[in-house]
Amino acid sequence: MSDASAKGPAPLIEVRNIVKHFGSVIALSGVSLSVGGGEVHCLLGDNGAGKSTLIKTLAGVHRPTSGDYLVEGKPVSFANPRNALDAGIATVYQDLAMIPLMSVTRNFFMGREPVVGTTPFKRIDFNFANSVTREEMHRIGIDVRDPHQAVGTLSGGERQCVAIARAVYFGAKVLILDEPTSALGVAQTSMVLKYIHLVRQKGLGVIFITHNVRHAYAAGDRFTVLNRGKTLGTYVKAEIPMDDLQNLMAGGKELQQISSELGGTV
């Protein structure tokens, strides 16, 4: 086990013993997690492990029943996602928060449109917005043919990257990525993973939720495995080979058995 952040500055965000009940359902029973700047922390777990509840708690959608939530060492309590966003914690949800029928520019600046002009003639500064969009897309390596093109025409990976780029552009310090690669093909996945790497190099903290160990292993520095609302452990990459991680996540033996029956790794 490790706590990489123990000696350095306070981690960007840290939760200790987070508990979340929904009525009689105990969704999280004491989960601890931290992520520092320039780190990709993978949150692994099978369906129903509590990943979604945990990230929604981090994102300010849910409030924890008990436990501590610290941002840069200071305890916080977010009333809504907007508060979390203002604190620099941006969540890119699986459903992307992108609107397919709207242009890339309009999506990129949705809710935070730059304006020019005085009140009755206040309008979106499309020159600025388009040039920023083009520039940011170029930085990711997406050649936006035309910032007016609808987001619906982009591929899944491109959309995911646009969503991440948007969060980064608007000053996120911590990115929570909810299964960004789960619906993507191989090439698209590598595009997203590459971009996550880029974001890490910029010094942001990333919480990367996935149930694909390969994707996690490719991008992550540390791994936390959740099972039935509990942390099974946090490991740094050097400590744990991929197969062990896989087994840990799937709950051990059964999967190994299936895997050997199928003659390979699942």
Partner: protein, 380 residues
Amino acid sequence: MSPGQKTPSDVIAPAAPPAQVDERLRKTSIVTEAMRRPELGAIAGLIVVLIFFLFTASPTMFTLSGVMTILAPASQLGILAIAAALLMIGGEFDLSIGSMIAFAGLAFAAALVNAHWPLPVAIVATMVFAAIVGAINGQLVIQTRLPSFIVTLAFLFILRGLTLVGLKFATGGSTQLRGVDDVVQGDLVKSLFSGVAFQGFFSWLASNNLIDKFDNGVPKVSGVPVSILWFIGFAIVATWILLRTRVGNWIYASGGDPNAARNSGVPVSRVKTGLFMLTACAAALVAILTVLDAGSTDARRGVQKEFEAIIAAVIGGCLLTGGYGSAIGAFIGAIIFGVVSIGLTYTSFDSDWFQVFLGAMLLMAVLFNNYIRRKVTGER
């Protein structure tokens, strides 16, 4: 090398930087570019309709007076259609606008005739009143999360019923409230909402033999009905709001995907409530225009206007599912409506063909819009 063969480098080099131009992306032609505009279908429709009438209608349809005859009813519908289009882009319907016309007409006429309020006060009061009803509509839809279809359908009946009851109360048993003319006689504000504009210009045109005139020198068309000016002005403002302002972006976003919009910080509830208030105010404006023109109001005002407005918006390229459409499209949709409904009287066809024509037009518009939507989003 034969095209079927792959060199090893083709296969193993996915990491190589992609070519500047994605080979799977066809070069978008100007035609495809134009297809992205929601109002394209409406423009095409208008051209088709105009060609049809050019061959079948008597030439008087295309004279100045014919054009005004077509545009006057189109403008009233158009004001509603543009508001309905904005609301549809925002992802909701308002089926109560037809009844709202009658209801606002009652409020307006009663304020003038029964309460003896001055015209400007009555106009402002009617607008505020309509905005409140619109806000109630919007809040009900948002708070209950019921489809706006149902909520506003309820209001279609509630407002119509209230209008009947209120009219009988205000008049002592009649469903028509008269006497508006007498109380607004000579009011300067009236000319903003009633009659025609640019009379001097039209007389000048007539005196220079540029337009048709009667034998006594009075032009056959004495001016532009003010409702047409309201129609054009509203279309311009609405288009500007949609395409150039933050609110416009929020309207598209609220209709496109309310959750995604909310996650991105768009005040979806406020946008939608505001749009419901806008449609109600548009209905009130139409009520004021018609009441001042007719000098009276009655309980049957605005019957079925809600459907006509939605049809015009759909013909203008609005998707029923929200998030896509334009104000210019609704503007053209309303003109198509006027051209067909009035135009048939210039032909030898039975003018009852109008409804058949309208239904067919609506069906074609919906099919076309869906096709365009798939184009725009690259089939998803």
